[in-house]
């Protein structure tokens, strides 16, 4: 862009901005050409003014001619979103570290660039690169190299990303050194670096990139000079490798983050023997191993050694370690002790303390249905049910199961318990007649009663029929039980039989009154035979006794 042209346009844009501010809200309701033009110009100005702070935006300026409202808006959005998140983060940091604001003020001479550098510094305070120790080393080395090579004119946006990281690495280191961490952390393993790395990763995801300028790098230099010799040495060692990496990463802004990623990956892939087992790095590796052992209780001495190395009593890290250790001890103790009764599986009352079950919220499986809660609704529903049932007449009465009788019901001889009206002579007379003349039907007492009853009923029916003028329907044929007396069939048929035949009216099965399975002599089992004989003997004995009794 031509600065002069830019200046004139900015002026017009500022004017239009003021104009927009001054317009009343109701004027916006109606679309006006001049207003839209003014707005476009103003937004262009804003865009370009914000652009320096937003490294990743693809547009150098806001393109408004021939573009849709939506498209303009999207351009703005594209620029502003990452900017917003970065601003938020910076504000948070300012909240936490108010002293940085003063630094900011001091660094105000360098202009925006310096400010940026400080901001970066503040940002990376909290980022710790734990995993990528090599990366740190690489970054450190790169940084140093860059400082050596490109102390000036580092406004190339190609290497900003790398610089950032290197900055961060050195800054982290410087910070770490300043804080004098305990034994766990060393050049390789720094918790702060880990944090910083994580945040940096997040920033990468959001597409936020911090620019690094010459001034910033200078500041880093100052910082790095504070570090111990180890860092420099280490950095130098790794410098050779990282040169290659740098050379590869001359890309556009867009490819910056990819380059960073590649760098990290390359660092991992290109981990060489020297990284682990060079003269200086032996120490670091040992320390690394030591630091790992610190987690166990065996190498407490190392801890102590490291603690002795450090100044000023237990550091934050040491405190954390102590906490962790105590926690671990607690847990191990809990594991070794016998478990709480709730964790012991099946526990009877004798095995736990008195009333200890009251304190625990126990969950039971109730196999019994809970008693129904009688509410008004329940009673109302019950009453309704009762009413409907009564109205329908639908009672769940038990129906008697009729046993189907296959046999004809036998006529039971009824004992007449009243004084007989006939004299004895008549009785014998009848008996004699029955003997000689079987056809004369012998009316038993029950028959006489039935006859009497039927006579009465007939009389009644006659009277009732008279009421209905003798228009009546005949009685339905009801299959009645027919009582069959065991009189010889011939006797019933013939009027005056001279001979009496054996054939009786009733069939053998009707005469038969036995129960169960009748077996012949040949079919009996031994036990049954014995049983029969025993019964026989018993009967015989009884009869004999009776006879004896009678005789006596």
């Amino acid at each position: 862009m031509i600065p002069s042209a830019m200046a004139s346009s900015t002026e017009t844009a500022l004017e239009s901005l003021h104009h927009i501010k001054s317009t009343e809200p109701p004027e916006w309701l109606v679309p006006k050409q001049e207003l839209s033009q003014a707005v476009r110009a103003a937004s262009k100005l804003l865009f370009s003014s914000l652009k320096p702070y937003c490294p990743k935006s693809p547009f150098d300026q806001l393109l408004t001619e021939g573009f849709d409202v939506e498209q303009i808006w999207q351009q703005i959005d594209l620029q502003s979103q990452p900017l917003l998140s970065s601003l938020r983060r910076e504000v948070k940091k300012f909240e936490k570290h108010p002293e940085e604001i003063s630094k900011l003020k001091d660094g105000g001479v360098g202009g925006g660039e310096k400010k940026k550098k400080v901001l970066e510094q503040i940002e990376t305070d909290n980022v710790v690169n734990d995993d990528e120790d090599d990366d740190d080393m690489d970054m450190d080395e790169d940084e140093d190299d860059e400082e050596e090579e490109d102390e000036e004119g580092e406004e190339e946006e190609d290497e900003e990303g790398e610089e950032e990281e290197k900055e961060r690495g050195t800054e982290e280191e410087s910070e770490n050194e300043g804080e004098e961490k305990g034994g766990i952390e060393d050049k390789f393993l720094k918790i702060k670096e880990l944090q910083e790395y994580l945040e940096e990763d997040e920033a990468r995801e959001f597409g936020l990139k911090k620019k690094k300028t010459k001034a910033e790098s200078k500041k880093e230099e100052e910082d790095t000079e504070e570090e111990g010799d180890d860092d420099d040495e280490e950095d130098e060692n790794e410098g050779s490798e990282d040169d290659d990496d740098e050379a590869e990463e001359e890309e556009d802004e867009l490819g910056l983050f990819d380059g960073n990623d590649e760098e990290d990956e390359d660092d991992l892939e290109n981990a060489r023997y020297e990284d682990f087992f060079s003269r200086k790095k032996n120490k670091s590796s040992k320390e690394k191993a030591k630091s790992r052992d610190m987690l166990e209780e065996d190498s407490g001495s190392d801890d102590e050694q490291d603690v002795d190395k450090r100044k000023d009593g237990p550091s934050k890290h040491e405190k954390e370690l102590d906490k962790l250790r105590s926690k671990i001890e607690e847990m191990e103790k809990a594991n070794l002790d016998p478990k709480v009764w709730t964790m012991r599986g099946e526990v009877t009352a004798a095995q736990r303390q008195k009333n200890s079950a009251l304190e625990v919220d126990l969950d039971f499986e109730h196999n019994v249905r809970p008693a129904p809660v009688i509410t008004e609704e329940v009673t109302a529903s019950l009453e309704d049910l009762i009413k409907t049932r009564i109205s329908e007449g639908l009672f769940d009465d038990v129906q008697k199961a009729r046993t189907s009788s296959s046999k004809a019901p036998r006529e039971i001889k009824e004992l007449d318990e009243s004084k007989s009206k006939k004299g004895l002579a008549e009785v014998y007379e009848e008996e004699f007649f029955q003997k000689t003349d079987p056809a004369s039907a012998l009316l038993t007492f029950s028959d006489e009663l039935k006859k009497e009853a039927s006579m009465l009923f007939k009389k009644l029916c006659l009277k009732l029929d008279a009421l209905s003028h003798f228009h009546f329907t005949p009685k339905p044929v009801v299959e009645d039980m027919s009582i069959q007396t065991n009189v010889p069939a011939l006797a019933m048929e013939e009027i005056a039989p001279m001979a009496v035949s054996d054939a009786a009216m009733l069939a053998p099965e009707e005469v038969f009154s036995g129960k169960g399975d009748i077996k012949e002599e040949a079919e009996l089992t031994k036990a049954e035979r014995k049983r029969r004989r025993a019964n026989k003997k018993r009967k015989f004995k009884a009869e004999a006794a009776k006879r004896m009794g009678k005789k006596a």
Binding site: S418, S420, G423, L424, A425, Y428
Partner: protein
């Protein structure tokens, strides 16, 4: 008479004598059956039946019912000896059979025991009917309340047990205090006696009934 006989015999004997004039036995005499009156050498036979005091008024009540069949159908003279309190029976000349007197005596005796006239009349009509008497103490020695209870058991409520036995066994029973009289045919008497004895011994009426039913059914099957 003697002259007549020889004449009848003579004709025969003449015939025979004419044939043979040797010693031959006289023919067998033919006699007609003796009448009741002529029995015991033509003397009259008597029977005397004493009347117990509790049967005195019933006798007076039913006298005609007793008198009529005896006098007219059995052809036996009957009279009441008030002074001696006895019923006297005497054969007549036209009494057909000697057994009539005995039958009438049995009939009267039955009435005196306590049987009703229509029941006792069966004795006159049928030959095979008998009266058996026994006492409760013959079956089982019971004293005081047990005896009373036994008597009660025999009769049943309103006499229903007794009637039940009577009806099923075709007998007539009279329970007079501790004496029991049964009137009927031999087999029936036996059945009735058995059931009465079981009642005396203590079995409940229902049991007696069931047994009665069985026995009578079996009896009926015989014919």
């Amino acid at each position: 008479m003697s002259a007549e006989a020889p004449t009848s015999m003579e004709t025969e004997t003449v015939a025979s004598e004419t044939k043979l004039e040797s010693n031959t036995l006289p023919p067998k005499p033919k006699f007609e059956p003796l009448k009741a009156h002529e029995m015991s050498d033509g003397r009259i036979q008597f029977r005397k039946v004493s009347v117990p005091p509790h049967r005195y008024s019933p006798l007076k009540k039913y006298w005609m019912d007793i008198y009529t069949p005896i006098y007219e159908q059995m052809n036996i003279d009957i009279r009441m000896n008030l002074k001696a309190r006895k019923v006297e029976l005497k054969t007549r000349s036209d009494t057909p059979d000697v057994s009539n007197l005995q039958k009438c005596a049995d009939f009267v005796q039955a009435f005196m025991l306590g049987f009703d006239v229509p029941d006792a009349i069966a004795l006159l009509r049928l030959d095979e009917l008998y009266v058996e008497s026994f006492e409760i103490k013959d079956v089982k020695t019971l004293r005081g309340e047990h005896l009373s209870r036994a008597i009660g058991r025999l009769s049943g409520k309103g006499g229903k047990t007794k009637f039940a036995i009577e009806n099923t066994t075709k007998t007539r029973i009279v329970i007079a205090d501790t004496k029991i009289h049964i009137l009927g045919s031999f087999a029936n008497i036996k059945i009735a006696r058995d059931s009465l004895c079981s009642l005396i011994l203590g079995s409940p009426a229902g049991k007696v009934y069931s047994k009665l039913r069985q026995v009578t059914a079996r009896l009926a099957e015989r014919f």
